[in-house]
Symmetry: C3
């Protein structure tokens, strides 16, 4: 399946082989991150950002210009036509007549899917609220692949808020798909949601050990299983177990109180001293921007690769743009047994049997009136359906038969 004309809304939209093809192309693009390669000559990308994001927008705009293409940009659409009440569907149907590819960031969950549904040009999701941010995941995977030479078998600890962090969820699935060994470390209350852990297991045969703090591994404790975790400090000794430690941003607003935040923060802060005891070739990663969870002093340590990680964003996005624009056909190899491939979506319109709306207040279907809510049955989880836009999961009101 060629990548030309394809949209990337979720990391699940591309097969394993397609992701590998993008990575191969990114290696080639890496030679042009300081020059200009004429692959997108005469083409225009629109960055349609409904909330500001320096890093992601600049990365895409640099990528397009390094490819020789042009850029039109809405750096903060919250102050434009949207204020006049224009829908996403209308906006993209106008922008598609100007631009050859649309990069969209919108706080409504599922909004990028709506954009892709209505646009006749490829749409790339640059973040739709707490839902997905697939190019960040590609960059994270590519960083490990380039720094460690492979993804299969690489031991990765995901540390921080694993409940709300979209980058951590997508990365967990991405790592699982490519055979990395994942460990999850999260403060009590911020663990990865159970249904995601279930899906990791059932769909990708990945059963990550889960801890409340890295130090638990040292004391030989069993991985947590729903027990109320004791709070202990992250210790350096256990770091020697990992090829990569991926630290995610701990967002203050996710905690019930300032006190809880301070407690979690101090237990998880990555310091220079701590990191000095990790494996000499370990990677300390972070999606950036950081707040308090990663000390500035760590920057000096050769294991700190987060600025390189940000830099990898350029060749990866150049490769992605070149591929979906059809200007540099990515060579997608034949799928191997066990490879993930996107399946056709079996969407169920429950309006026939019930007036069902998505209960997620941030879901795009609750903000754009022309959309009719659709749902899909969640594989491996009985009697559960997910919103076809924001993927919010809930109990099915009726069985699959009833909805046929």
């Amino acid at each position: 399946m060629a990548l030309e004309g394809r949209s990337l809304i979720s990391i699940f939209d591309f097969s394993d082989r397609e992701i590998e093809a993008v990575f191969k192309l990114a290696e080639e693009m890496a030679q042009h991150t300081r020059g200009r390669v004429g692959l997108a000559e005469g083409l225009i990308m629109c960055t349609l950002f409904y909330e500001p994001s320096t890093r992601t927008r600049l990365s895409f705009e640099t990528a397009m210009q390094r490819l020789g293409g042009g850029v039109i940009s809405v750096a903060d659409a919250s102050v434009t036509s949207v204020a006049k009440g224009e829908t996403i569907a209308d906006t993209v149907r106008i922008v598609e007549s100007y631009a050859d590819v649309i990069v969209i960031r919108n706080p409504l969950e599922g909004s990028a899917r709506v954009a892709a549904d209505y646009a006749s040009v490829p749409v790339i999701n640059a973040g739709d609220g707490a839902h997905e941010h697939p190019t960040q995941t590609l960059v994270d995977l590519y960083t490990i692949r380039q720094e460690k030479g492979r993804l299969k078998g690489v031991k990765v600890a995901l540390v921080g808020d694993l409940r709300h962090g979209r980058t951590a969820h997508s990365l967990a699935f991405g790592l699982a798909r490519f055979g990395a060994e994942v460990t999850l470390v999260a403060p009590p209350g911020l663990e990865m949601p159970a249904h995601l852990a279930t899906r990791l297991d059932k769909e990708f045969n990945c059963r990550p050990a889960q801890y409340h703090s890295l130090s638990e591994m040292v004391t030989g404790e069993e991985p947590l299983k729903g027990r109320s975790g004791r709070q202990r400090a992250l210790t350096s000794e256990v770091l020697s177990l990992f090829d990569a430690v991926y630290v995610t941003r701990v967002q203050k607003e996710r905690f019930p109180s300032e006190q809880d935040y301070q407690k979690a923060k101090s237990s998880y802060e990555i310091t220079e001293e701590l990191i000095s005891k990790a494996r000499p070739d370990a990677l300390v990663m972070h999606p950036l921007p950081r707040v308090d969870e990663l000390a500035h002093a760590v920057d000096r340590d050769p294991r700190a690769v987060y600025f390189r990680q940000a830099a990898y964003g350029l060749p990866v996005r150049m490769a992605l743009l070149a591929a979906v624009l059809g200007r540099r056909p990515a060579r997608v190899r034949k799928a191997r047994k066990g490879d993930y491939r996107p399946k056709p979506r079996h969407e169920v319109d429950f309006r026939k049997v019930a007036d069902l709306r998505c209960p997620n207040a941030r879901c795009v279907t609750n903000h754009e009136v022309y959309l009719s809510p659709h749902f899909t049955f969640v594989e491996h989880v009985p009697e559960t359906i997910a919103c076809a836009y924001c993927e919010y999961e809930m109990k099915a009101p009726l069985g699959p038969e009833a909805a046929q």
Copy 2:
């Protein structure tokens, strides 16, 4: 008269033949809306927007880049030097040393004229408050011309707020100039101002029928002439009379009460069912963004051309830029009898006889202190003068002789 170096502030700045020359050039540009044609190589356009407008700005920026030129942009100047009190005259005299053409949007009426007066490079008005938005008018006319093959004799209904809608006013004049047959349909209180109707008649020999709702035409009622209109629903039958129905945005804030708005809105909403009964080859047009006056379901109907209309904005703006930049001389044919041509402006400085200011609070002359108000006598309307900037009309304080 060549178009090189010319500014476009009002649709009246270009003669009929000049507009046709732009349209001819637009047909040529239409072949390059997905590529890049090197006409503006080495030239730079500045989009100087004092209020945000995604659509218009992106359309111009795409046009300039498709022509091979560069763009510098102020997406929302309300937060820049203007806050430090800089005048429009100062800003354009600085920007002209950077850019080869300036595209300005500013909420003050007459502001674009001020920009053109002070700049040594061509200025294009991308909207000066409620005053003018001439490239929208060009795009509207071009859409009808391309879709119906001609403008002369085409039957067009303008529906909606015809009192405040600048696009509707300009379009009415544009259609009149090219011999289209215009019908005006507006809710009571939102009819086209009388002096504009007078001008349509006297200057362009156009006497549009005016209705309060399209259904009145079915009942055989006489067009309204100042009577207080009864409110009736827009009906489908009458749609068969028109080649094009141009729906304009009904702005809530124009109505005295929420109730009045709801009444007007429901009478004028264009629905799928309604439109299905129009002529198979009719055009449903809208300048976008829409709010409630045009149902999303209509999008499916082949008669809905408003997204194509938006797309026509690209070749038209490419043509306009290429022409005023002198990179692709538009071939302007000799004027024919009856053609509109811009006349020299006879401006009157009433300061000699009276300390006269423009009464329009949104007029640029009431905000930029260095400007001295000037006025012109309005043709065909006795004892009436108009502000030379915002064209606000008022009774002349003295006769033409006195002001000489």
Copy 3:
């Protein structure tokens, strides 16, 4: 010393010969201000503006595009990641992987120095609060050089707020370095700070006459020496003494009361009548934007060169970018005796002996936690140290020996 790879944070970062080399190059670039010269082909500049500035940003973006390069832009970073708490150090270490040169504007004093310390690509300071704006100074000097044919011996009056005006301070030093004859004219309370006058004298052998109003010179009064000045009107007669009158913006918020502001404003306003009596070949300069200190009517006078001054910003910034990007090696001639050359900075870390922080609340060291305050001993001023970032001066807590 070549300019390739160099940052420009303060006018003191470049030697006299290096500035001359930039000016030579600017003369060459002046031939391309309406075209495009392929010097920066394939390179990208990032304008990273934490506060909006139309003029400076557009000038740089035009310069880069006229050089054939690309631009990525953050027009107002105050609404982006910075709000998430990202440091300047982090931001530039990410942006450097996209862009080949960074142009930064940030209200924190010393912030541009921080950016240059952390970035591996050249950083150009486009204004760091009240501290420095070196490209404005280059443009000012270049304007006089081009209009008068030289800088040496040219008589320049700096008029206005000389206490807070960063452009005036830098210009005074720039003029002194190139041998111009400087006169300072400022309302009482807004005189140039004493330590700057001292430095002008000791380091550059420049002892500008200082007046409270230009008219004092006519009355034969001695230049002020700390006396409380009487307020007298600026008169036209004295203008014949100057080759250039550089008027700076008088900012209302600098005055203790509205009354004080009105008094100063009316004494210093440059009017058409006043300027008409200056030398026929005098230059009236202003950094723009102006407020009330320079009448619009002056624009008509051929001596008003401030719009040309703004236009000179383009070739100067083109030359600077081409030079630091290494695409057009500026030929720097050998230094002559007495030339200014940047000296190695001897920074003192007083933390060893005292917990010393910069007392300037707007200093970057008081906002970016990872920075450790450093200080330098001020030459010619006994027992005085200056913050190594914002250059705020204060009494040294200990002698130089103690800090070794």
